[in-house]
Amino acid sequence: MIQTPPSADRLAAVSFWFKAAEVSAFPENGGACVKYQDQQIAVYHFAKRNEWYASQNLCPHKQQMILARGLIGDQCGEPKVACPFHKKTFSLLTGENLNGECYHIETYPVKIEDGYVYIGLRD
């Protein structure tokens, strides 16, 4: 079951699914940080929508490893995360900055299987 509806080409780009942790380990309606090798990935659980999203943990504005600790929500229906440092917000669909600034973040597809959260990664 794919929880986040990513576009077909993004799914095609997934070369493997990283088994992150049990669903119950993640907070509802908030973020948590997952370590995969040298990467830090922020995973967000939108419990009301029953949707999961993932992005890089680094906020590109001031290069802080922090997005997992940000508040999540939506802007006109588009799921987003707000960096706790300076409240820069990013779309979790496209990774685009929603304050009209020119940096963006990497996002990853997420799927849930047998009570585990998997993150779609590329080599």
Binding site: A21, Q40, I66, P84
Partner: protein
């Protein structure tokens, strides 16, 4: 060369500044896809940025934030962008350009948006190290690099740009001098009296101003040390910023054989065509009707004119109003219409208040019917309205002085009946050419419901931003006309104000954010409503903050202050600033054990920095075992109650200010509020606790305590005002209880008590009636509600320490206990500081 009809026209733009960018933006927005192919050359290494707000770079705005559009924008719009590439020649006969890389490209139409460079007067020594111009981000970076070596700076030029540069020098912490050749500041915008007022204001801010002064030489080896002036005087400086005017970048046009003006500038006709019909010039490099326009709005209008003509439309550039408003080093300055109208054809009304530093002049046509122009210094609040009155030839009221003095009653109550009295054609945003009609119809047709929406769909307010207050007024007035109540809603997820939500929570016994969102909101919430509701819940039910961890702002979610690099700082509560030697030792031991950086705070506490998220519960545990609690140095909550030494030790002290401060701090600790709260208690009128700069300040008198409320320090300091005098301790606490609870229940989110009071109709007198005389009949409720808060207070850190499940949440990764590997420190002055 023959070509197919369907082939797109090739437009080459030389220059990627604000105007060059605006040309591209307008062209792609208006042209059918495929009609044009666009190639842009910019010689700077970065894409076009906002030069108007360049000085913001010195106060922390980044280069990215100043960027007009990212590189990707150009790609998305099929614009071929060449950055860091200088066009070296134009051949008008073959219609080709060549760059310094040797690349040649042919064009159908060429747009010269080459802008201007700083005009540097030929002064001896101007080439010395330490002399800068103020033009590009690279200039700014060079200044920032040099500034640490300098203590004083002189700006040559007291015009608009010169004063911007002076602000930059002040922001860099330098003693600043401004040298102006003319007899007044901003000679193009201000008259003698206006200049004098501005000069006084700037001098009161510590900037030295010299008028009628001409620099003859700059001395020093190798860097700047001294300036010599024509009148024989001299000035020792370490750094010089030349901002004496602009010089159009017309060298390429000259080389190409295009006609230029005798004092520079590429000559253009009303269509902005140069002497070659296929080549246009726009912005600061263009000379139109003998004028170089050094402002962004006329540049944008030129861009729009060329775009319209390229698309087969008809538009001519007919010159431009040079009205301008800006904030210079915190001082409003505006000049509009015919600012210097001669007494022969007009009469002027002048208002001057030297104490407040306000100068206003309006020029009125001889027949008294129309406003022709004016000057505002110190208060430009009604600039937009005055400018509109000039531009739309609005018939003046009987007492035109009301325009600058405000109505003083009498027959002309309607003077300047506000924005809605403007005609629909009135140009509100001159940068983007948006009329009042455009803005209002975007609201009436339902497209836009807020300023952000209007900015997005009409582009009004996206240029210099000067019209945004007026756009806001138009929005509110239009909504009101439509019968819609204009209310301060929290965000897109709740159509309620904070006060309304607080009532709903209380009346309906709503205990969680999700429940409130479900019953009274929509969507998934956001970073605005979540913390606001968290604060409301805490102020109403006083339950454990971490019960709803994911709606808290990060500091409240981790019960500590996040710092650079993602570590936290811990600030144990030291109520009233009183601490035993044993406890001081414990703080030292904890800091040493966890390798924390320590610093004394401004609120009489000790801050320990550099704790990893996983170390927080361990640190709290040690502090709690030693009789501490960690403190609220975070959150919208009570911070500290500062005290002076008080009567126990101080020979002047009247009462025990320390004891009272501790009592008050312990009473209100943990209290969540719309914004942070700070207090102070002083033992006598000498006020060593600086209590009058706090949200509440208590000062001992012979007979009891004087209570001051609604003050704050910070960016906009405001003194607390005297609320009641000679109170006994019990009454003082009672008034404080009511004041704080009333504030908590009625303020908008993130409004400090001072802002709350400033917005309150009736002000302090009204507040006194509510709190002392119980005019609303709510005092019993307020008393009970505050007592509930005091009685239900619990140490939130202890809850975490004693709860394994909560404790588990304090780790960086969810799938491994290891700490964040990206955290790094370096030593500085014997302690560690983050590397970021």
């Amino acid at each position: 060369m023959s070509r197919l009809v369907a082939q797109p026209q090739h437009i080459v733009v030389i220059g990627n500044g604000m105007v060059g960018f605006k040309f591209c933006e307008k062209l792609v927005a208006k042209a059918q896809p495929g009609t044009f192919q666009i190639t842009v050359f910019g010689e700077e290494p970065r894409p076009a940025y906002d030069r108007v707000h360049l000085s913001a770079y010195f106060s922390g705005t980044t280069a990215e934030e100043l960027t007009m559009a990212p590189v990707e924008w150009y790609a998305q719009n099929n614009i071929n962008l060449h950055l860091g590439e200088l066009v070296t020649s134009v051949d008008a006969t073959t219609q080709t350009i060549t760059t310094h890389k040797g690349e040649s490209i042919s064009y159908d139409k060429l747009i010269l948006a080459t802008g201007s460079s700083a005009f540097v007067p030929p002064i001896n020594g101007v080439e010395k190290e330490g002399v800068f111009v103020y033009r590009t981000i690279e200039d700014l970076d060079a200044m920032l690099e040099y500034a640490p070596k300098a203590r004083t700076a002189a700006v040559i030029g007291g015009g608009l740009l010169g004063l911007e540069a002076a602000k930059a020098a002040v922001d860099m912490g330098l003693t600043t001098h401004v040298i102006e050749f003319a007899s007044r500041l901003m000679p193009r915008q201000l008259d003698e009296a206006g200049s004098e007022m501005l000069k006084r204001k700037l001098e009161s801010l510590g900037i030295s101003i010299y008028l009628n002064k001409s620099t003859t030489a700059i001395l020093g080896e190798p860097g700047v040390e001294k300036m010599l002036f024509a009148d024989g005087s001299e000035l020792n400086v370490d750094m010089i910023i030349v901002s004496a005017g602009i010089k159009p970048r017309d060298e390429l046009a000259i080389k190409a054989g295009l006609a230029v003006g005798p004092r520079g500038g590429i000559m253009v006709n009303d269509n902005l065509q140069t002497s070659d019909a296929n080549i246009y010039a726009i912005g600061e490099s263009a000379l139109h009707g003998g004028m170089i326009y050094g402002l962004v709005a006329p540049g944008y209008d030129m861009a729009d004119t060329v775009v319209t003509n390229l698309l087969g439309g008809e538009k001519t550039f007919k010159g431009f109003d040079m009205s301008t408003k800006l904030k210079l080093i915190g001082v409003d300055v505006a000049s509009f219409g015919d600012a210097f109208a001669s007494p022969a054809t007009s009469r002027s009304i002048v208002f001057e208040d030297k104490a407040k530093g306000i100068y206003k002049r309006i020029n009125i046509s001889e027949d008294g019917k129309y406003l022709v122009g004016g000057i505002l210094v110190g208060d430009a609040g009604n600039y937009n309205m005055l400018l509109q009155t000039v531009q739309n030839k609005i018939i003046l009221p009987q007492d035109p002085e009301d325009l600058i003095l405000g109505s003083r009653g009498g027959a002309s109550e309607s003077a300047g009946a506000g924005v809605m009295s403007l005609p629909d054609e009135a140009l509100i945003c001159s940068c983007e050419n948006v009329s009042k009609g455009d803005i209002c119809s975007s609201v009436t047709d339902g497209t836009c419901t807020d300023v952000a929406g209007i900015k997005k769909c009409t582009k009004a307010g996206t240029g210099c931003g000067g019209c945004v207050p007026m756009v806001n007024d138009l929005l509110n007035a239009t909504l009101k006309q439509m019968g819609k109540e204009v209310k301060k809603v929290l965000c897109e997820h709740f159509d309620y104000s904070r006060q309304e939500l607080l009532d709903l929570v209380k009346v309906n016994n709503i205990r969680s954010y999700d429940e409130l969102l479900h019953s009274h909101g929509r969507g998934d919430g956001c970073e605005v409503c979540k913390p606001a509701v968290a604060s409301i819940m805490a102020s109403t039910w006083n339950e454990l903050i971490l019960k709803q961890a994911t709606i808290q702002d990060t500091n409240d979610r981790y019960l500590a202050n996040i710092q650079k690099g993602g570590t936290y700082s811990v600030v144990p509560r030291i109520a009233g600033g009183e601490i035993t030697p044993e406890k001081l030792i414990v703080i030292g031991q904890v800091a040493a054990k966890y390798g924390l950086y320590t610093k004394i705070t401004g609120g009489q506490r000790i801050d320990m920095f550099g704790a990893r998220v996983d170390q927080l519960p361990d640190i709290w545990e040690e502090l709690i075992n030693a009789g501490f609690e960690s403190g609220h140095a975070y959150g919208k909550s009570l911070r500290t109650v500062k005290s002076c030494v008080g009567s126990t030790w101080c020979r002047y002290g009247l009462h025990d200010s320390v004891g009272f401060a501790i009592q008050v701090e312990e009473r209100y600790r943990g209290l969540r509020s719309p914004h942070k709260l700070k207090g102070g208690v002083s033992g006598c009128v000498r006020e060593c606790a600086e209590a009058q700069s706090k949200d509440f300040g208590i000062i001992a008198t012979e007979k009891g305590w004087n209570l001051y409320i609604c003050g704050n320090g910070g960016a906009k300091p405001q003194h607390a005002q005297l609320f009641a005098t000679d109170l006994d301790t019990e009454t003082c606490i009672k008034y404080l209880d009511r004041f704080l609870m009333f504030y908590i229940k009625t303020a908008e989110p993130l409004n400090r008590t001072a802002t709350w009071l400033n917005k309150m109709e009736g002000g302090m007198e009204y507040l006194r009636q509510v709190i002392v005389e119980d005019s609303l009949g709510i005092c019993a409720d307020l008393d009970r509600e505050m007592q509930f808060m005091v009685d239900t207070y619990a140490c939130e850190w202890k809850e975490v320490v004693n709860n394994p499940e909560l404790r588990q949440r304090f780790q960086h990764f969810i799938n491994t206990p290891e700490p964040d590997p990206s955290i790094r420190f370096k030593p500085e002055r014997g302690q560690k500081v983050p590397v970021v």
